[in-house]
Structure formats: structure tokens, C-alpha cells
């Protein structure tokens, strides 16, 4: 549980950098191709949200290996505007930027565990994990 590299999200291209690193980690841990794609896609969504709505932030990776689970946790952290109504942003199709509004509800379905903490004016932290089957 100690290894915890982070990718700073500052420019648009960091979205690609983060998802590529995430895919590599997922492969190392032993995820199959489809789960690698799920993890990379989830990272891409979270990183783009940081870039679009908070400006900057970071995506960190934590390898989980305990009695219960083996897998990867993605932690997306920003100090942006925060989210006022979490149940609203978790609805399919809800967007404030003319996107598809598929990002957050999508990440929840792509991953096995999803957790979001957000405070208006403080920022947002999202944790999403996938377990190796």
C-alpha cells in the first residue's frame, strides 16, 4: 500500500499522460485488457474534469493488496470550486460545459468502488478502485 505516484494535471496533454501511466500500472498488477481500458477511461474522465472545472490538480495511484482485495485505487484531487449537489452531477447527462455528462456516472460504472467528497470553495476528492478478478 506504500507506492503512490501522482501525475499533476496542469495542461490538456496531462490527461493523456495520466491515463497512459494508469494503464501501465493496471497491466503490471495483472488486469486484463478490458479492465485496463476501463481504468484508463476512468482516469481520462477524472483528469479531464480536473482540467476543465478546477484548472489544476492531481491523479494519484495506489496499489491495494490486502486480505480482501488486490487492485488499483485512483485518487483524483483538486482545489477547484467544488461540487454543490453531488447527486446531480452523478446523473447521466448532467453537464455544465456542453459535454455528454457521462464522466462521473461512467467512472462509477467502470470501477468497482467509487467515493466522492467535495466542498464548495475547497475542492473535490474522488476515489475509485478496481479489483483484480
Amino acid at each position: 500500500m506504500d507506492f503512490k505516484p501522482c501525475v499533476n494535471i496542469r495542461k490538456e496533454w496531462d490527461i493523456v499522460g495520466a491515463r497512459q501511466l494508469g494503464r501501465e500500472k493496471a497491466k503490471e498488477i495483472g488486469f486484463g485488457t478490458v479492465d485496463q481500458a476501463r481504468i484508463a477511461t476512468a482516469i481520462s474522465e477524472l483528469a479531464r474534469n480536473i482540467y476543465l472545472y478546477a484548472g489544476t490538480g492531481k491523479i494519484c495511484f495506489e496499489i491495494v493488496d490486502d486480505f480482501e482485495h488486490k487492485g488499483l485505487q485512483i485518487i483524483a484531487v483538486d482545489e477547484g470550486p467544488g461540487i454543490r449537489d453531488i447527486s446531480q452531477v452523478m446523473e447521466d447527462g448532467y453537464t455544465t460545459s456542453g459535454g455528454l455528462g457521462a464522466g462521473l456516472p461512467g467512472v462509477k460504472r467502470l470501477m468497482d468502488h467509487f467515493d466522492i467528497i467535495s466542498e464548495v470553495g475547497e475542492g473535490t476528492e474522488i476515489r475509485a478502485s478496481k479489483w483484480v478478478r
Binding site: 490538456e12 491515463r19 478490458v34 474522465e45 455528454l100 457521462a102 461512467g106
Partner: protein
């Protein structure tokens, strides 16, 4: 930073594109613009976009691809997407993206056959 340019080939009345790189947002948008310009200039009636080498399509790329199909259609060119990897198809479903009005085919060759059938009747 300037966007990469994805090559667009012309074959008779068709335009062929094979996406070989991990698409960042700028490159995807540049591609959208380049393709529409090329349809306009060439008067192409069909477009095949091959995604065999694409191993991730997130909601942004999916939106760009969906928009490309709609816009090309408005300009009189039918688009077929080919070679979508199984893992990509599955992640799109998880994202809740169905690309309903989009024509697809197994590979470039099948894509061309599909276009020919569509455009000839």
C-alpha cells in the same frame, strides 16, 4: 502546443482515415475540422474512420466522433466507423454511450463495402 494532424487519404469518392495515436483533445478537434474541410473540398460521399489501433475512447472522444458523423452527414458524406476494439465497445457501454445512429463495420474493407451498398441504393 499545436495539435498533431491525422492523415486523411482520398480513394475515389471516399475518404479513409486510420487513427494510430492516443488522441488528445486538441488533436481530436483538429481532426474534426480537417475532415469537414476535406469533405467540402473533395466532395467525398463516404468516409471510413478506422479505430483498430485506438485502445481508449472516453466521453470526450466519443462526443467528437459522434459530432463528426452528424456534421459529415449534413455535408452529404456517410461515415462508417470500423475496427472498434471489444474493450472499447465495453467501456462505451459503461459510459452510457450508445452511438446509435452510427454505422459500424468490422474492418476497413467491410467499411468500404458497407459504404458502397449504402450509396448505391
Amino acid at each position: 502546443m499545436s495539435a498533431l494532424r491525422i492523415p486523411i487519404l482520398k480513394l475515389q469518392n471516399y475518404l479513409l482515415i486510420s487513427i494510430q495515436i492516443d488522441l488528445d483533445d486538441q488533436t481530436a478537434i483538429q481532426f474534426q475540422e480537417d475532415l469537414l474541410n476535406k469533405i467540402h473540398k473533395s466532395g467525398a460521399t463516404g468516409v471510413v474512420i478506422d479505430l483498430t489501433s485506438v485502445d481508449i475512447v472516453d466521453s470526450f472522444i466519443a462526443k467528437v466522433l459522434g459530432d463528426v458523423v452528424t456534421m459529415s452527414d449534413l455535408m452529404g458524406a456517410k461515415v462508417v466507423l470500423t475496427g472498434i476494439q471489444p474493450a472499447v465497445a465495453m467501456t462505451l457501454i459503461d459510459l452510457g454511450i450508445h452511438l446509435q445512429d452510427v454505422q459500424t463495420a468490422l474492418d476497413l474493407e467491410q467499411g468500404l463495402i458497407k459504404l458502397r451498398q449504402e450509396l448505391e441504393d
